[in-house]
């Protein structure tokens, strides 16, 4: 370090006037004025970079915004819900949970609340009795516990959940999609189920943690036993606990629910499924990021191309500058600065466009706009790297232009 300094000092020991000097400020000024004199070309070649960066920023921003939405959702829905289902038996047929399963779950240490659901086979729902019985339209009938609404954090879009009074009448609560399929808009409508009229008590909002409810027609325990012939075997049990005990409980659930065949029991954590769905979306964003980087590459080539042409066109100017006393290094810096500015211009425009796209997209989906500053910084940094790479060869060529080019005709 010390040694190198001494060597440098020997060079600078020459009087200042024996060296050409170009202030750093002036390098930028030169780069900018080179661009200013060819505005159309600048806009067109910066556009490539802008599109590339905009695509990258938008894709990343959209995915982080949807992630932010998911996190918001998870923190309001909670990640402490476990779902227990009757799996398949060793022989491959659908097994049932024992009648006592729900009670057993609630007895596990740490379990705070439970709910259950029992799918009813062969119960079909129609808009009215006149509909052809072939068109049952993918609606599952199920008996449900009172507590289901609370445990799954489901909310009513309209009407009401079962209460003591309504539970004893032929009433039904519909999931969001089930209501749509039956064409039910307002509570109080009557639908035709199992050769009998049922009054729709209410309709649920879509349930993110229990999406299976969306296509269900739900009945109270009483109605299911009295009218639909349910045999009291639940098919799914929902359970909430404190966040810390989720893992411990998860391990205990199969044996508690079905001590004889614990391996048939399926336990899942719906919040994981939600997160996994988002991860699947990121696979798609990977593709878009790929497209964005291709656009960036093409943009970079565009910048390089523009710079090569510029250098060819400006041989006289370069020669003139050499005659005015500039060094090769200064010429190189000038054209490198021009390429960097050109590319950075595209980068900044691209970040702007990307932000607009994210905002529009997030607003349309009801997501919070969330773009990590690091993404923006790396976007701009990427354009600077692209500018440097794209500008290097043209700048070296410019520096090689002989001073006599000023006189060449």
């Amino acid at each position: 370090m010390k040694r190198r300094r001494t060597a440098r000092e020997q060079v600078s020991a020459l009087p200042a006037k024996t060296r050409s000097r170009l202030l750093r400020k002036d390098v930028l000024r030169l780069g900018a004025s080179g661009l200013k004199s060819r505005p159309t070309r600048v806009v067109l070649s910066a556009l490539g970079i802008a599109i590339g960066i905009a695509a990258m920023i938008a894709v990343v921003g959209i995915s982080t915004s949807s992630q932010a939405k998911l996190n918001e959702q998870l923190s309001s829905l909670g990640t402490n819900l476990l779902t227990v289902g009757a799996g398949k038996s060793l022989f491959g047929d659908q097994s049932k949970l024992p009648e006592t399963a729900a009670g057993q779950v609630s007895r596990i240490e740490g379990v705070e609340k439970t709910a259950w659901l029992a799918e009813l086979e062969g119960i079909k729902s129609y808009r009215s009795r006149l509909i052809d019985s072939g068109q049952s339209g993918g609606i599952t009938a199920a008996a449900v516990s009172d507590t289901l609404l609370d445990v799954t954090e489901a909310s009513m879009k309209s009407g009401n959940w079962f209460n003591e009074a309504t539970a004893n009448y032929p009433t039904v609560v519909l999931g969001a999609k089930a209501a749509q399929r039956l064409g039910v808009v307002t509570p109080g409508t009557q639908v035709w189920i199992h050769d009998q009229l049922f009054t729709v008590l209410g309709v649920l909002d879509p349930v993110p943690l229990a999406p299976e409810l969306d296509t269900m027609a739900m009945f109270s325990e009483h109605t299911a036993i009295e009218t639909l012939g349910w045999e009291k075997n639940p098919t799914t049990i929902y359970e909430r606990s404190s966040d810390e005990s989720v893992d411990a409980i998860r391990a205990l659930l199969p044996r508690a629910v079905n001590p004889e065949n614990p391996e048939e029991v399926e336990v899942s954590r719906p919040s994981d499924a939600l997160a996994a769905k988002n991860a699947a979306d990121t696979a798609f964003t990977g593709l878009l990021v790929g497209l964005g980087s291709v656009a960036l590459l093409v943009g970079g080539i565009g910048v390089a191309n523009t710079m090569v042409i510029t250098v060819l066109e400006r041989r006289r100017e370069i020669g003139l500058r050499r005659a005015l006393g500039t060094t090769r290094k200064h010429i190189r810096s000038q054209f490198l600065a021009e390429a960097l500015l050109l590319s950075a211009l595209g980068g900044v425009a691209g970040v702007g466009i990307g932000m607009v796209v994210i905002t529009v997209f997030a607003n349309a989906n009801g997501w919070p706009v969330s773009v990590p500053p690091l993404v923006i910084i790396s976007g701009v940094a990427a354009t600077i790297v692209i500018g440097a790479v794209a500008g290097l060869y043209p700048a070296i060529r410019a520096a090689r232009t002989p001073p006599t080019a000023v006189l060449a005709s």
Binding site: A16, K17, T18, R19, S20, R21, L22, L23, K25, D26, R29, S33, K36, S37, R316, E317, G319, L320, R321, R322, A323, L324, G325, T326, T327, R328, K329, H330, P402, P403, T404, V406, L407
Partner: protein
């Protein structure tokens, strides 16, 4: 130090293969304060010679000492510095930046001496005043006449106060009157002490200068000096 401003010894400059000799064994000495015309027909090697004198090019053989420095032995950076501080250039086509005011064109003459932009502009105004364009500082080249443009170019060449000024056909693109006024300006600069070399194929113009070097086919054919 009594170095000559220009000292060429048996300088040749060849181009291409088979080599064409643009400059063929030229020896000449120009002292400080001289004003010289280099005259010759088209293709005689005038511009090639100017490139050598201005250190834009190096001789194939022979030696060129400019301002006492041997061009052949100097690095490209050292030659750049020599041009930045010691040599001014004026060209037939002016070579001004379009869309840039006279003042900023002239200030570019100081760009590579590490002087800040304010100081560059201040000295540019001085130089423009010196060439009689003090009232045209904010005009752009497109708003100036040919003669005025060449004056701007001369101001740019002398803004760093170089001891040597080289002009290649400075009146080549000008009409009679503006040409004459540019020549008069060069005389003035010479009277202030600048050594000036003017390249021209215009014999009439050359007659107005105190020393005339005629070249043909890259060789000096005559060198005459008025006795003051």
């Amino acid at each position: 130090m009594s170095a000559h401003v220009i000292e060429l010894n048996q300088v040749t400059r060849e181009h291409g293969s088979p080599p064409v000799r643009a400059v063929d064994g030229v020896s000449l000495i120009v002292e400080a304060g001289e004003m010289v015309a280099i005259v010759g027909p088209s293709g005689s090697g005038k511009s090639s010679l100017l490139n050598l004198i201005g250190t834009l090019d190096r001789p194939t053989t022979g030696s060129a000492l400019i301002d006492g420095a041997d061009v052949a032995r100097m690095s490209d950076n050292a030659l750049s510095a020599l041009r930045a501080y010691r040599v001014g250039f004026v060209f037939q086509q002016f070579h001004l930046s379009e869309g840039v005011t006279a003042i900023d064109n002239v200030a570019d003459g100081l760009l590579y001496t590490g002087v800040g932009v304010r100081e560059r502009r201040r000295r540019a105004v001085d130089a423009l005043t010196r060439v009689g364009l003090g009232h045209r500082t904010t005009h752009k080249p497109s708003q100036l006449s040919g003669g005025e443009r060449q004056r701007v170019a001369i101001a740019r060449a002398v803004v760093s106060r170089p001891p040597l000024l080289l002009a290649d056909e400075p009146t080549g693109n000008l009409d009679q009157t503006s040409g004459a006024s540019v020549v008069e300006l060069l005389h003035e600069l010479n009277r202030d002490g600048t050594t000036i070399v003017v390249i021209t194929h215009d014999v009439e113009l050359a007659q107005k200068l105190p020393r005339r070097i005629m070249i043909r086919d890259g060789r000096v054919v005559s060198d005459s000096k008025d006795t003051p």
